[in-house]
């Protein structure tokens, strides 16, 4: 395991700048998640580290060595793709052993057997080792695909939406498993996703990407509680943060220069009010554990969470108070509230 650094890396495809002067240091044993919408440059960043793309400018360093111009095979990395691609004619065991039997890094069979069994135990597929790869469920196949990366001990594991082809339940299970395995192995992982729940639950640090740039990097809590901009604030949280002009609802503590207010559920207090109130409940969505309450105020829609048994119904007049919301200036940058 080792440190991986990107130093002001740029990658262009014809007229499009896919990755724009991106700098990032991934420490040994860290799980960094790149989060952003389609086209933000996440996958290209991953491919630049893998050597599947060549940087137009900047430097890629693995364990202190400049690998910018090296071919993929010479870089000490393992890649897990979105679509598991297993060898269908091989057993699970042989699929897992495959990378260790490659001519360039061939290991003795006894050592391979030991390593395959270790990883299979970690992934809880020991009892499937003799199965043909095609006779597995989707979740098991993806475990094998991840396992095939884990049998090696590269400087860094690069994972491109490895869980996105699985159903919600399985994804939630594997998320937790992968995080556990990562901390047990002390593995360094760069993980790409557009799923904010994956990012928040798994990452040591989240890097938020937009149009080829890394706009903020920090722990999930930092990104959620102290976003640098309205854009970053809108990437995390379900329901999404409410962003509205400062005039809409009076915020007593708003610092000078506030143009936009960002209010998550925990920043909004909604109470039943008399008929004269400006805000009205448009719809209550019962999601079981909580309800999404859609409120309209002066033609703007706000969404917040409420207890499923809260006495709120469509058409109710409500009053809304803000409690320590997040403030943004005219450029969408966050400004600190007065202490």
């Amino acid at each position: 395991m080792a440190e991986v650094s990107l130093v002001s890396v740029t990658k262009r495809f014809q007229t499009v700048t896919a990755v724009d002067r991106l700098s990032l240091d991934i420490a040994d044993g860290e799980l960094v998640v790149l989060l952003g919408p389609t086209g933000a440059g996440k996958t290209t960043t991953l491919r630049l580290i893998a050597g599947l793309e060549q940087a137009d400018a900047g430097m890629v360093r693995i364990d202190g060595h400049d690998v910018t111009r090296m071919p993929p095979a010479a870089r000490d990395i393992a890649f897990v793709f979105q679509q598991y691609s297993l060898y269908p004619h091989l057993t699970v065991y042989d699929n897992l052993a495959f990378p260790l039997r490659a001519p360039a890094r061939r290991r003795p069979e006894a050592e391979i057997a030991k390593r395959v069994r270790e990883i299979a135990a970690l992934l809880r597929i020991e009892d499937k080792l003799q199965n043909r790869a095609t006779r597995l469920s989707g979740g098991e196949m993806q475990r094998v695909a991840i396992g095939r990366a884990l049998v090696r001990r590269p400087a860094i594991y690069l994972m491109d939406e490895p869980l996105s082809s699985l159903d919600a339940k399985l994804r939630a299970e594997l998320r937790l498993e992968l995080k556990r395995i990562q901390s047990e192995l002390g593995a360094t992982i760069l993980y790409v996703t557009h799923d904010q729940v994956e990012a928040m639950t798994m990452a040591s640090r989240i890097g938020i990407m937009s149009e080829g740039r890394l706009v903020q990097i920090g722990t999930p809590r930092e990104i959620y509680e102290r976003p640098h901009s309205a854009y970053v604030a809108s990437r995390l949280g379900t329901p999404a943060i409410n962003l509205f002009p400062a005039e809409l609802i009076v915020a007593p503590g708003a610092p000078a220069g506030t143009r936009t207010i960002g209010a998550r559920t925990e920043h909004l207090r909604i109470r039943p009010a008399n008929g004269g109130a400006r805000a009205r409940v448009r719809r209550v969505e019962h999601l079981g554990d909580q309800s999404h309450v859609h409120v309209e105020i002066d033609g703007r829609a706000l969404v917040t969470l409420a207890d499923p048994h809260a006495p709120l119904a469509a058409g109710d007049a409500v009053s809304i108070d803000l409690v320590n919301p997040i403030y943004f200036d005219g450029e969408g940058r966050r400004i600190e509230a007065a202490p």
């Binding site: 639950t201 959620y224 079981g288 554990d289 499923p308």
Partner: protein
């Protein structure tokens, strides 16, 4: 408008039983969702209501009238397949008008009907546009327009949002429900996505292996699942089950989890054996140092406002959804407390709830 009643409906394909003795009533004007994993029989049931499939047993009544064997075209029901299926060479107006034209309706009548449908969907400004240039959302609205323009007694929809990405699906869910509130037509909607079902339905029927497991409002089903299947299928993360050996005697309001006495909200019925499972949703689990039920923190998932902490206990893993302000550390030993009124006791053998239900629920 229409009430749809399903009585003992069955469908076999050779030896395979796709639907087995389903009974439920879809009230006039309601948004009814059939929910379940793939292969549970929900689409087959919908196709039988539409008349695209004939049942091998049972009856379907539309407003009291037996339509079981009537042809699809004679049922006055609109079936909406995956949305997006539009005629690319026609403009929006022609696409919406198409079903009426096929019925041979005079042009003068078609015009106001198309305009009314477009107004309801808020696409009246797009009537002259070609569909190929429209955004995804507008195309979806046009497809819906083509269904509502016929003013059928009921709409049947089979995973209409299945092909869309998550963010757009949420948006369309809200729009579909708002459209329903404006036109109040009976809608039967099939999905395997529990969030979609919870967000849109007035009532949900959960199906499993051809049978209806439970019918109820989203909150009833969430709060009082009548089977472990339902409890596990709904909720993210789903309900925790603590498996234990014990005795449930009729009228008991407590069970013994090893040495720990746990109060349950409703008196029991008799259990079939000694295997029991205590069901508790993650948001009803709290940390409490004084609790005798202890476990080791196995995983922590930060979600912003809340976090989900997985705790390994002697009765299996238990997930707690608690405020992210609470400090938790992997490996730490914690005590767990459950909210009594939210617990559900299950029979480990039959996998059904054995607390006498408070009513509202329905054993399928």
């Amino acid at each position: 408008m229409a009430e749809i009643r399903i009585e003992q409906l069955s469908r076999r394909f050779g030896d395979f039983v796709a639907v087995e003795g389903s009974s439920f009533t879809i009230e006039d004007g309601s948004f009814f969702v059939m929910l379940g994993p793939s292969g549970c029989g929900k689409t087959t049931t919908l196709r039988m209501i539409a008349g695209l499939e004939l049942p091998t047993g049972g009856r379907i009544l539309l407003d009291g009238e037996d339509i079981t064997l009537r042809r699809a075209a004679e049922r006055d029901i609109a079936f909406v397949f995956q949305l997006f299926a539009l005629y690319p060479h026609m403009n929006v107006r022609q696409n919406i008008a198409f079903p009426l034209k096929c019925q041979g309706m005079p042009r003068a009548e078609i015009r106001p009907r198309v305009e009314e449908a477009a107004r309801l969907l808020r696409i009246d400004h797009l009537l002259g546009r070609r569909v190929s240039g429209l955004s995804g959302g507008d195309r979806q609205r046009v497809a819906l327009g083509r269904a509502i323009v016929r003013r059928p007694k009921a709409f049947l929809m089979d995973e209409p949002l299945g092909a869309l990405d998550a963010e757009f699906r949420r948006l369309m869910c809200g729009e579909l429900r708002e459209l329903h509130d404006r036109i109040d037509a009976t809608t039967v909607y099939v999905t395997h996505d529990q969030l979609e079902a919870m967000a849109m339905a007035d009532r949900i029927a959960i199906m499993n292996q051809g049978r209806v497991e439970q019918v109820g409002t989203p909150q009833e089903i969430y709060d009082r699942p009548t089977s472990m299947f339902v409890a596990d299928f709904i909720g993210s993360p789903p309900m925790n089950f603590l498996a234990f050996e014990g005795e449930a005697r009729p009228g008991d309001c407590r069970v013994r989890l090893g040495d720990i006495d746990v109060a349950i909200p409703e008196p029991c019925e008799r259990s079939s054996g000694a295997a029991l499972a205590l069901g508790v949703r993650p948001e009803h689990v709290a940390f409490d140092d004084s609790s005798a039920l202890r476990g080791t923190v196995f995983g922590i998932e930060y979600l912003g406002t809340t976090q989900v902490v997985t705790v390994s206990t002697a009765y299996g893993p238990v997930k707690a959804r608690i405020s992210s302000g609470v400090k938790a550390q992997i490996g730490e030993i914690v005590g767990l407390r459950f909210r009594t009124e939210a617990l559900v006791l299950f029979d480990g053998a039959t996998r059904r709830s054995i607390a006498a239900t408070r009513g509202g629920g329905f054993h399928g």
